[in-house]
């Protein structure tokens, strides 16, 4: 397939693609419909090739940051219909109460999730969905680790409050 010598720039880029493609695809599909994900992922790898010297050893957060900017630009430039946001598994769209505690808990969770701001959802998703550490997530959002940690703490607290509203706070963010 390639005539490049082992360790060449081309081979290192191919290796980067092999190592990161599934995670990057998942990251993008959490934020845009699957039909739009391929274009975003393609743009990310084009950017990564052009700026290969800037890609750190821990490439995933760097690629995710490029993907976020790409998706944000598409949202601003093409769709304009909504801000970049994290999606929820489609199985929750059809979930209806059946009297079981399990379904009730899941419905509560998705309702609580939807009361959060897009920014809170993004912070939580970077950790819970994308599996990033605070350092990595801070790289994606281009902020300091301490800033991310503070935002994560606040987002968790708001999610907790939405799940277990105090009587006087019920509906405060609804």
């Amino acid at each position: 397939m390639s005539e490049s010598p082992p360790g060449s720039r081309e081979d290192r880029f191919r290796d980067l693609h092999r190592r990161t493609y599934p995670d990057l695809l998942r990251f993008v599909e959490r934020r845009v419909p699957p039909a739009e994900a391929e274009d975003v992922v393609s743009t990310v790898y084009l950017t990564a090739w052009r700026r290969f010297g800037d890609v750190p050893d821990d490439a995933r957060p760097w690629l995710f940051a490029v993907a976020r900017r790409t998706m944000a630009n598409q949202t601003r430039g093409l769709r304009r219909r909504r801000a970049l946001d994290v999606r929820v598994a489609s199985s929750f769209d059809e979930l209806t109460p059946d009297g079981s505690a399990g379904v009730a808990a899941r419905l509560d969770l998705v309702r609580a999730w939807r009361t959060l701001s897009a920014a809170d959802r993004e912070v939580l998703a970077l950790v819970a969905f994308d599996g990033l550490t605070a350092d990595q997530a801070a790289t994606v959002l281009r902020c300091r680790r301490t800033t991310f940690a503070m935002r994560l703490t606040r987002a968790r607290r708001r999610l907790e409050q939405a799940l277990n509203p105090m009587p006087e706070r019920a509906g405060a963010r609804a």
Partner: protein, 242 residues
């Protein structure tokens, strides 16, 4: 946070084989520079199927690529050709001949065979003339007549382009070029406007190459570089039809 994982829309999502092929193909195009060229603002006046009047009798058929075959062919494409094994060439030659209704060819009927990844181009004797055929495995997806009768060999360092064209659409366009050369020509290369250099496969006075991209159907987007022991010269393909 553990319960939140249930909300993940991409939980357990893994790219399937087709997605891997498509993405790998894209990466290869990015590396080779052909991705950028497809999105450039080069002129797109079409010259599909242009052929030198002296030799080429014209396009016989263009068979659509099987879905997925393009991606794999692009992913595994190489700018320098290899030589397909004899176990592959003869079955492919038979498949090509069967497309134009000819009897099974012998090994001696194969004038030129070159392979880039999964795709092979063969130049074959067809009756008294010649035809060119592109195949993946034993599946033929493009073929054309190069000559209806005997072709006078070129002398010395002369080189000609006989036909060039592009096939497919959108991100799946690919280009082919076929030409002839005299015995003093040591190598023929295609240089795309984006800078990429593709080495043509050669044999028995013929040369050919294919590559992912639309340049074969455009004007001014590639040059033919002819090498001899004395040096090299670059030509617009249309100048080499004379």
């Amino acid at each position: 946070m553990t319960e939140l994982k249930d909300l993940d829309p991409a939980r357990d999502r893994e790219p399937n084989q087709v997605e891997w092929i498509r993405s790998t193909a894209h990466v290869e195009r990015v590396i080779s520079g052909t991705h950028a060229s497809r999105r450039s603002a080069w002129p797109r006046r079409t010259l599909v199927g242009l052929a030198g009047a002296a030799v080429a009798a014209g396009v016989l058929a263009g068979i659509a690529l099987v879905p997925g075959a393009t991606d794999e062919a692009f992913a595994k494409w190489t700018p320098t050709p290899g030589q397909p094994g004899s176990d592959l060439v003869l079955p492919q030659a038979r498949a090509c001949a069967s497309e134009w209704g000819a009897s099974a060819p012998a090994a001696s009927d194969v004038v030129l065979a070159e392979q880039r990844g999964t795709a092979t181009i063969l130049v074959l004797k067809k009756g008294a003339g010649l035809a060119e055929c592109m195949a993946i495995g034993e599946e033929v997806f493009n073929y054309q007549v190069l000559a209806d009768g005997p072709v006078e060999p070129l002398a010395g360092a002369r080189a000609k382009t006989e036909t060039w064209s592009s096939s497919g659409s959108g991100d799946e366009q690919y280009s082919r070029v076929v030409g002839r050369m005299g015995p003093d020509v040591t190598k023929v290369e295609i240089r795309l406007a984006g800078g990429q250099v593709i080495t043509a496969g050669t044999g028995a006075g013929w040369w050919t190459a294919w590559w992912p991209g639309p340049e074969g159907g455009e004007v001014g987007t590639f040059e033919v570089v002819v090498h001899t022991a004395r040096g090299s010269s670059s030509h617009d393909p249309i100048d080499l039809t004379r």
